[in-house]
């Protein structure tokens, strides 16, 4: 028989990126947009995530008052700055560490929202610039850009899984696309996706898929099988426990990673090999966890329908 969940396919690879590597273009309305062309710019041809995030240039100054330019907002004159092309950690002025004080991050998020949100800059520029229209427009546009950058960064960093994935992407790792979308896409294009069923789960997963298939059949026939549903529900709970255990395992890897970054920060050399090993361990945990998460989702779907 065919086990749907075991059919793991590989989608057509396509360039994919989650972060902007160039300063954002002024946004026109959705109705008509023009492509802004960068002349003669050399781009990284690899389709993996770009690691080369330009570090924030601390030598810049505020466009309005000339004070040393902060990333988002000038404390000296209260002006929103043009968006800087920085990664999410830099945006919050955080080191690339994974153990993160989430309540403190939330506080920073709220504080920055109060400075950057377009609602509060709706009348920006009009206060003491003598209402220069262009400046006002610029500031509103920057406020929109900065605010979306802030929201995107907060959404990514506050979530332990997304944060880890993001950091790994910054490190140049291409994560296995284990999403349902990728699976569907692979199915439709007929390309085989790299199978990454964790070996220790193989037998269990096979069993579960048989049961799911059986339950689907029962449902199709309009029959009820409480014993089977109970059994599947029990397995679902076990999977959820495994998922949680993997998150804890991931958190222990965070400590190793953060320690390594700290050593590097203190001027001790970290070998590329060590870095790669730490990355790979986290990638492995994430892949296993994603696999289980998708299983749980499929089981829930069958149980709920």
């Amino acid at each position: 028989m065919v086990c749907v969940v075991l059919n793991v396919w590989r989608g057509r690879p396509r360039p994919r990126n989650l972060t902007t590597t160039q300063p954002p273009v002024p946004t026109d309305s959705a109705r008509v947009c023009r492509v802004v062309v960068n002349e003669g710019k050399n781009l990284n041809t690899s389709t993996t995530m770009t690691t080369a995030k330009p570090a924030f240039d601390e030598t810049q100054s505020c466009w309005s008052c000339g004070a040393p330019r902060p990333i988002h907002f000038c404390e000296a004159c209260g002006k929103v700055q043009p968006p800087a092309s920085v990664d999410y950690f830099t945006f919050f002025r955080l080191p690339r560490k994974l153990n993160l004080d989430v309540p403190a991050l939330e506080k920073d998020f709220y504080d920055l929202s109060r400075k950057l949100h377009p609602d509060l800059n709706a009348r920006a520029g009009g206060k003491d610039t003598g209402g220069k229209e262009q400046e006002k427009e610029n500031e509103q546009e920057w406020s929109l850009q900065q605010s979306s950058q802030l929201n995107d960064a907060y959404r990514t960093l506050k979530d332990p899984i997304k944060r880890t994935q993001y950091l790994l992407q910054l490190e140049g790792v291409e994560l296995e696309e284990q999403s349902k979308t990728a699976t569907e896409q692979a199915r439709s294009t007929g390309q085989l996706k790299k199978q990454i069923v964790p070996p220790d789960l193989l037998e269990e997963v096979f069993e579960l898929n048989m049961q799911l298939e059986e339950l689907r059949m029962h449902k199709k026939m309009g029959e009820d099988d409480p014993a089977l549903i109970d059994e599947i529900g029990r397995q679902k709970l076990e999977l959820e426990e495994k998922q949680e255990a993997l998150l804890q395992e991931l958190k222990t890897r965070w400590k190793m990673w953060d320690g390594m970054i700290q050593r590097e920060h203190n001027g001790q050399p970290v070998s590329e090999e060590e870095r790669r090993q730490e990355r790979d361990k986290m990638v492995d945990i994430l892949n296993r966890r994603n696999y289980i998460r998708n299983l749980v989702r499929d089981v829930s779907e069958v149980l709920e329908n």
């Binding site: 396509r14 902007t20 959705a30 947009c33 492509v35 003669g40 609602d119 605010s147 929201n151 569907e184």
Partner: protein, 656 residues
């Protein structure tokens, strides 16, 4: 004399100048609740939001538009009579059609008397026939907005050009865009679209000023929203939202109408389904019955039908509740999903705020209690709280005041944004419940050598397949210079702004040649079409304005004559000299003489004269307690308790 309403009293006294100065400074940004059944306009008066009443003194403007005998559009209460008299010249619940295509509305057409234009082309924006004219849904909504704009202008005695308009949280991009277009057509700059439940939370939070997790359950005339928010020191952070843009009191009405039509066919042998007048008469009666059943155990329906027969039926609350159960049960799924998305259990919700007229139904309240394990908060007026919240947001956008300086709304996008990829699958790039503004960047390339165009299909929705999601727009990246397949690198940035509307920008990174994106919105008006509609309304604006001035002057005549009648019966009348009485009588006669002529200036002059001539009478009429407060006020202003509540008896509305 009549007791003033506190609100009115405030406006009539010293506040006026202050108020006008204040609103002048903030460009008079109003908050508008453009509802399925009723619409309202509100503004921030000092530290609290208030609703601006219409000419008839009522806060709610029914969202009904009709063409009168002279083919002029009529809005609100004045338009309601046309629903039963000339239903082919009237329309209600137009919000259901906003931003939708002809395929989306087939279900609606079974229950709503929308007369689509016969020459409607596939892919065209819907057009509704009223009499022998056709209007798009944004144009009809614009007529409602224009009425609210006029009410506000009358109230401020000055033009109003900026507004915050509320939309259901679960509105998609096309529905939002259509609402924004309606604002533009009405001559309003829409500074922000705010989600209705979020607006309600602003009004609630302004009042309560406490931190915690709050759910807003908003069941209105045509839409249902559930939003879960975290209130934290003035920040209103939406954590999750869900809903159904086609679920509300309308659906309950339609159930009752269907039953009544079956009854009349079965019991009386009358098939009224193709008789719009009779259907509207039944609709009116069942709505009244529905409202009555919120406070009574049973209600008797009695509708006179064509041919003189009567449709009689008693409905008990129990029957009613059984009947509507399937409708209100449809709110359960979205509530559970929102809780799940927020990662919260019902016990963690500290307060559930009820919004929308349909939450007056006891059975709905019981359902909410069951869902969230607590008694809902019912202190707010469910009809007005959204408009009041919109006024709060308008105030924040206008620079804030003492009451709102710490307030900031962080809303979310209700639906995921996706791109169609190979195999007709949706690839989600911005997930639902992401705080807005939110952005995502995608890179595109070519699939064959020398390919010059890349098509991008943008979708909104949660389903896996593109065909099951809402199509927002198709983008064509054009003029890509010839190169080998996969070499082009086009960066497309999707940004959902604070209105929940999508903006797209793009750049080709490898070539030095300029290329262009063309956007074909799947549903909606083009910029040129909207421009054209604005001009149309400008053309008739002058005539509209002249007629309106006359009507308003006549209303004022009625008010002042009524007040004068009252004055003549009061003891104060006896204190006037014979000469004074004669003068007043003469001026009264003069006013009556010009009142029915189409000369606005003449009516105004006569009113002014009578107003001045009766000042002493007005003063005498006031008892000592209020006379201090109202010193120097004229007759008309002194007796404004029941009349229109404009600060100035004849506020001149100005139009650009």
């Amino acid at each position: 004399m009549k007791q003033f309403e506190p609100k009115v009293l405030q406006l009539h006294n010293y506040e006026i100048t202050k108020l006008l100065n204040y609103t002048m400074a903030t460009d008079r940004i109003v908050g508008i609740d453009l509802g399925t059944t009723n619409s309202l306009v509100a503004f921030m008066q000092g530290e609290s939001p208030v609703v601006i009443p219409g000419e008839d003194g009522l806060n709610l403007v029914p969202s009904v538009v009709a063409l009168d005998e002279k083919n002029q559009p009529v809005v609100g209460n004045a338009a309601r009579k046309y629903l039963t008299e000339t239903p082919e010249r009237a329309v209600y619940s137009i919000k259901r059609l906003m931003g939708r295509g002809v395929d989306d509305v087939q279900e609606e057409l079974k229950y709503f008397p929308f007369r689509l234009a016969k020459d409607l082309q596939a892919g065209e924006v819907l057009r509704i026939t009223l009499g022998d004219k056709t209007f798009t849904p944004p144009e009809i909504s614009a007529l409602i907005l224009r009425q609210l704009k006029r009410n506000a202008e009358r109230f401020f005695a000055a033009p109003v050009t900026k507004a915050v308009i509320t939309v259901p949280a679960y509105f998609n991009d096309a529905q939002r865009q259509a609402t924004k277009d309606a604002g533009r057509i009405a001559g309003l700059e829409v500074l922000r679209l705010v989600n209705e439940p979020t607006a309600a939370s602003l009004a609630y939070g302004l009042d309560k000023k406490q931190n915690g997790i709050v759910a807003v359950y908003d069941l209105g005339g045509g839409t249902f929203d559930i939003s879960i928010l975290k209130l934290h020191d003035g920040i209103f952070e939406v954590i999750a939202t869900n809903g159904d843009t086609h679920l509300g009191g309308d659906d309950i009405d339609n159930l009752l109408i269907t039953i009544a039509l079956d009854d009349t066919l079965g019991d009386l042998g009358l098939d009224l389904r193709r008789n719009p007048e009779a259907v509207q008469a039944i609709r009116k009666a069942v709505i009244e019955a529905k409202i009555a059943l919120s406070s009574q155990p049973s209600v008797k329906l009695d509708v006179e039908l064509p041919g003189g027969k009567h449709y009689l039926r008693e409905i008990t609350r129990e029957q009613f509740e059984q009947l509507i159960q399937p409708v209100i049960d449809r709110t359960i799924g979205p509530c559970k999903q929102a809780l799940k998305d927020a990662g919260l259990k019902p016990e963690q919700i500290e307060e559930v705020v009820l919004v929308g007229g349909s939450t007056r139904i006891p059975k709905v309240r019981a359902l909410v209690k069951e869902l969230f394990h607590r008694e809902p908060h019912t202190d707010l007026n469910p009809d007005e709280v959204v408009a009041l919240g919109a006024a709060v947001q308008a105030n924040i956008l206008g620079g804030g005041s003492e009451a709102t300086e710490n307030m900031l709304l962080l809303d979310v996008t209700p639906l995921s944004l996706g791109i169609e990829v190979a195999g007709g699958v949706t690839d989600k790039v911005i997930l639902r419940n992401s705080t807005i503004p939110a952005s995502a960047t995608q890179f595109y390339t070519t699939q064959i050598d020398g390919q010059a165009n890349v098509a991008i299909h943008v979708l909104q929705g949660e389903r896996e397949l593109a065909k099951d999601c809402r199509s927002l727009a198709r983008f064509d990246l054009k003029g890509i210079p010839p190169m080998a397949a996969g070499m082009a690198r086009i960066e497309v940035k999707f940004l959902i702004d604070a209105n929940g509307i999508l903006n797209v920008s793009a750049r080709e990174q490898r070539s030095g040649k300029e290329s262009e994106i063309q956007v074909q919105p799947s549903y909606g008006l083009t910029d040129e079409q909207v421009e054209g509609m604005i001009l149309d309304s400008f053309d008739s604006a002058e005539e509209d304005f002249r007629q309106r001035q006359i009507i308003e002057a006549r209303n004022e005549t009625a008010t002042i004559l009524a007040a004068l009648d009252k004055g003549k019966k009061s003891p104060a009348w006896g204190h006037l000299t014979t000469d004074e009485k004669k003068k007043i009588a003469k001026m009264e006669k003069a006013l009556a003489a010009v009142n029915n002529e189409d000369d606005y200036q003449a009516i105004r002059k006569a009113i002014e004269a009578l107003n001045q001539g009766s000042t002493r009478l007005a003063e005498l009429m006031m008892d000592t307690a209020v006379s201090t407060a109202l010193k120097g006020k004229t007759m008309e202003e002194a007796d404004m308790g029941e009349g229109p509540t404009a600060p100035h008896p004849m506020a001149k509305a100005e139009f650009e």
